[in-house]
Symmetry: C2
């Protein structure tokens, strides 16, 4: 299935095996033998003879019939030929170590494309090119087809690395940290097999209990989201995505666009996929350690057991800083602790057994605290004290862990690195950290995974829109050679998409304006709407709080006069007369399009503060209903919606609906490039969200292509 | 001087020395001997005889005359007597290891106070009680009067620890990390010697090049700030202050008060003192390592040299994430690099020498990049590659460092812990980290210290205030048994303090209101001002945008009618008629009083957003002019002041002056407990900051005591 021919082959051929020392063709073969691959290992070399004690085959055609995987290390120019020969021989799996493809420029990219076409046509699967290889530590397979420095240690991690060199470095460190892995795939240029292939392959593999990804790019975000959001519900998926500062933000004309820079899109994708994003290798390993040795907790209530006050305080700081709770230990538990702890000990959380606590106190205290139903996780802190050995305390914790496998236990051992060296030679079943902050970070990861697994799946609701009307507006504008809609058109599109817009009417003369205002009811707002001038406010094209017809007529004449003086009458479509929504709460929502990840929905605080306070968040379209809720709750200003400061609570279902509707609009009509609803006002009266101003930019060529 | 008798004694007496193994009286004596103290070591034990091969003195009176320091380990009940005898013998320095004082409750606290009085009366200095001891690693002294687990390593750190057990743990880890220290003081209950004593003692000690503090409390913040802000200009001071989550926030009635929780005050104190605050032990050590091995850079331009792309990207992310700059390497430098690096290498920053880079490439690349005047610091990344040993690259870097001592070089070695074990046995002169994020964190510390050292000292400007008027307002209110001023009184106090308040007048009738409004000029704002009702808005006591006399009279009647209906007329002082300041920028400033740290000044975004967005910052009063500037620039909304979004730039000097004036008000009149200016409006017209509403709470008893 999928990658079986590559990760569970019956026999492996090394195409380009070599007798020359310190070449990949030599090292890789040695490694395969050294790690004890359980199937046949067949070197291929035109010279034949013997390599590393094995008979070398002169051609691929000469190979025995049980070869599932060919590891190819020949020069790039000879890879295609080798692939054809492998196909002829019935080989289904390829690992192309050879470099000289896309990474070298246009020529190489062409060669890579040819290679991929060949692989696809032959119905083969390929890891690479330009990669480090693959590993499977299952003892019945013992495949190490990889030229990393150290021999792998078996464990339950599935690890995908995009960077070859870094992948090797990470393998070294994993070994050093005593973190074993089940399978490793260095995807290199990821021409065929990529992170998603591995995710899917490991989805139901009981040997892989957590998945680690090192990524520099995510070529197919849609597929990644589809797979990762499903698989992360079954096992933790941790990702280190490099390239955060590479702010590929193109010049954007909207608020949403200008705030969408950096790696907002990648961040949104990983969040919506339930992938735990790590920002450094240290954190990646720290998290992997906790997932390798702890169950997912039932809640976020942490108890701390310590033999020193200071670290207990620091641990409390870190736990609370992560928004987890300090467990309220029951009176019963306290009484039990009092039975054996000395008077100077504190039986409140953090439980301070004092410096002289013997092993027996550690044992009984941890067991007693662990048994308290108000405790979901326990952090145990040890500071060296004369007569009590770190390793003995660690052993005791592992015994307790074995007896109580249902709750996470995390150890903080502020001792020397010698202790950690000792651990790396043991079969460890509890995650041990040097510092309490690291332990708290790790517990936060457990809690994040718990929350994600408990989060409802969410649905993509289908919301009716007047598609004909939407298309007609865009077609008209596209035919006029524009790439932005006017204010009126933008509001009309939103209206057609089912978004509540403020009541407005168009006027082309002073009298028309007065008539519309009469119908709307004073006070009103007057706004120019133009095919050429989108920055209305900058040219004095917006007048608010017009209280009477007299004022209206004066403002109308003034507005037209100013525009005329500035030579801006030409593109003028008319003047919008709008109801004046009574609201002190101005929000913003909109769409920005990431060149690679597609449309994203933004939501947050609007008005003059948008770009100053940046209290906004993003999610990739399409949003599920749960994504919409989540997006709303990920900005600080949500408190204004919930009714802080005496405000009428916002109609949250309608706010969510607004986000879902623009998400759908952008997802369905991919020619929509940028959209701003600023402000989206929350009515003081009844909390209804109302779009008061809008701006839409689009790709006219894409409109013409749309049906 | 100060602590010479304790840290540089000619001879040491151990009062309570013991032959019984595993007692402090035995361990401590052994340690003194083992570490090779250069002066006399005299055990004191009533039984006399020989202890650890030394003649024991039966009484303190019997001791030779060269004893400067007595280390006291006898039972708490016998400490006072011992101190008296030491005094009689002419001993000036005391380290009281014995526990049983303040930490045990009221009885112990009384004993500690007696002890302190005795020490003061005798003109002695004392470390402790309830401490771990002191260390001085200077080879001419070699004093280890401390019962930590491991023998100290010499270095240039001065280290003060409040927690005994944690201090010991830290000493272990420092040793493990090969971070030596010059002197160590475990201050325990800090009855006499505290962190400030040590800071002052180390100020001009060339052996102490950086100071590390572990603190759980800061008993004398004023003195701490005075000393630390001076000393941190000479050498880095790093602090780990535990107890962050202990949100000792009492119920506060003002915005400023409610936002002042947690450890805002400690944070402000450390910032204003130039102390680099570390939030975890890992970071504390990481920073100590960089300061121990690097000069302070001249700027923040970082160059990265690597043999692998991925870590280079991650390092760039981390450097940019800290707001430092990626150095723009000159064309000249690039050309020089091209001379020897292979074609596949990248000579832009990050400089990627590719995986196969030999030692010679490391050497030449680092030297070339280091020589570029556009480079202030260099991060060198090494990933294991066949044939190139980590330790050889490290050696090369140390040689380069010796030849170019003026620019920081930081190493990132993504290799095994074996490498770091090897380092700990070497004389290391370059800081080496496992991960690039740690190296970037460390470089940020260097840059923070550079910025602090370049920061002007600042002055406490004396600003004239009408003190008589201020006092009269508070006295009147205090005499009426109130602890809050009315709105009018609050604004009057600000006016007397020289803060620009909006023009307003008091009215006690409809006609008076009309007359005041006529003078003020429409539109006006109408506000109740009451001795009993401070939440004006909640009871409909604020009316804005009153445009005409007709409206004014109607609103006045309505206001009075509503108050009457609610039974709120009694405390009513009158109705304020205020000019309506035209402003879209509502800021907030104010005073909150921390029970321990005293008054703090807050500044940030005001209006309805204060508590939702929390875009505010704090500094301890009194502010220097530089503190005021710094406070203003530490909130996001400063951009609104600088003229973002087409606003008239605020008059920054006047905003600063406003902060300085309320700082002075609170600093001089300590009975002011809370003060809110919300909003502090920035005039649309000319950018002037104007206090539009205010609220002041005070301690009436303290007013009565004030002259």
């Amino acid at each position: 299935m999928l990658l079986d021919s590559i990760l569970k082959p019956r026999a492996v051929a090394v195409v380009g095996a070599s007798t020359r020392p310190h070449t990949i063709g030599s090292d890789l073969l040695k490694r395969l033998i050294e790690f004890g691959f359980k199937g046949g290992i067949y070197p291929v070399n035109p010279k034949g003879g013997e390599i590393e004690g094995l008979e070398a085959y002169k051609t691929i055609a000469d190979l025995p019939d049980d070869v599932d995987l060919a590891v190819i290390v020949v020069n790039a120019s000879r890879v295609l030929e080798a692939v054809d020969q492998c196909h002829a021989k019935g080989i289904k799996g390829l690992v192309v170590i050879s470099a000289g493809f896309k990474e070298t420029g246009a020529e190489g990219a062409k060669l890579e494309l040819e290679l991929l076409e060949r692989v696809r046509a032959h119905g083969m699967r390929m890891v690479g090119p330009n990669c480090l290889g693959v590993v499977n530590t299952n003892p019945e397979i013992s495949l190490d087809a990889c030229f990393a420095e150290s021999l792998p240690v078996a464990g339950d991690i599935g690890f995908v690395s995009q960077s070859g060199a870094l992948g090797g470095g990470i393998l070294n460190i994993l070994k050093d940290l005593n973190l074993g892995f089940a399978q490793f795939v260095s995807i290199g240029n990821q021409a065929d097999v990529n992170a998603e292939t591995a995710l899917e392959y490991w989805e139901n593999d009981p040997e892989v209990k957590q998945i680690l990804l090192y990524m520099e790019s995510i070529p197919d975000p849609v597929n990644f989201r589809r797979l990762a959001s499903r698989i992360s519900k079954k096992k933790p998926v941790l990702a280190l995505k490099a390239g955060r500062s590479a702010a590929g933000a193109s010049a954007a004309s909207s608020h949403t666009g200008s705030l969408a820079g950096g790696d907002r899109a990648a961040d949104a994708l990983l969040k919506q996929s339930g992938v735990i994003r790590e920002l450094s290798l240290r954190e990646l390993f720290s998290s992997a350690k906790v997932f390798a040795n702890c169950p997912i907790p039932k809640g976020d209530r942490v108890a701390i057991v310590t033999n020193s006050g200071g670290p207990g305080i620091m641990a409390t700081d870190a736990v609370c800083g992560h928004g987890m709770q300090m467990a309220q230990i029951s009176d019963e538990t306290k009484a039990k602790l009092r039975e054996f702890l000395p008077a100077a000990a504190s039986v409140k959380n953090p439980v301070d057994m004092i410096a002289s606590a013997p092993l027996e106190h550690y044992r009984r205290t941890v067991e007693t605290v662990l048994a308290d139903p108000a405790v979901d996780m326990v952090m145990v802190i040890y500071l060296p004290f004369l007569g009590l050995k770190d390793i003995d305390v660690a052993q005791a914790l592992m015994e307790i862990r074995a007896a109580h496998p249902e709750k996470p236990i995390v150890g903080v051992f502020m001792t020397t690195s010698e202790f950690f060296s000792k651990l790396s030679e043991m079969q460890v079943t509890v995650p041990f950290y040097m510092y309490s902050e690291e332990a708290a970070d790790a517990m936060k990861r457990l809690n994040d995974q718990r929350l994600w697994m408990a989060r409802p799946e969410g649905e993509f609701p289908e919301l009716p829109e007047d598609t004909n009307r939407v298309m007609q507006i865009f077609r008209t504008a596209a035919n006029e050679g524009r790439h932005e809609l006017t204010t009126r058109e933008s509001l009309d599109v939103l209206d057609a998409a089912g978004v509540r817009i403020c009541r407005s009417g168009m006027a082309h003369s002073e009298d028309e304006a007065a008539a519309v205002a009469e119908k709307t009811g004073y006070p009103v707002v007057m706004k120019m709407t133009s095919k050429t001038t989108s920055h209305k406010t900058d040219v004095g094209g917006v007048r608010v709080g017009i209280a009477s017809e007299e004022d209206l007529r004066r403002e109308y004449r003034d507005l037209i006069g100013k525009l005329e003086a500035k030579g801006l009458l030409e593109g003028l479509e008319g003047v919008l007369i709008q109801e004046m929504v009574k609201s002190k709460r101005e929000l913003v929502t909109g769409i920005a399009t990431d060149p690679q990840f597609g449309p994203m929905v933004m939501f947050g605080l609007g008005g003059v503060f948008v770009e100053v306070l940046k209290d906004v968040a993003f999610r990739l379209a399409p949003l599920t209903d749960i994504d919409a809720k989540d997006l709303i709750h990920s900005v600080k200003c949500v408190k204004l919606l919930e009714g802080a400061r005496g405000f009428t609570p916002a109609q949250m279902d309608k706010v969510e609906e607004t986000l879902l509707r623009i998400s759908q609009l952008a997802h369905v009509h991919r020619f929509v490039k940028e959209l701003d609803i600023n402000p989206l006002m929350i009515s003081d009266k009844d909390g209804e969200p109302i779009a008061v101003d809008a701006r839409i930019a689009f790709d006219p060529e894409a409109v013409k292509l749309a049906l």
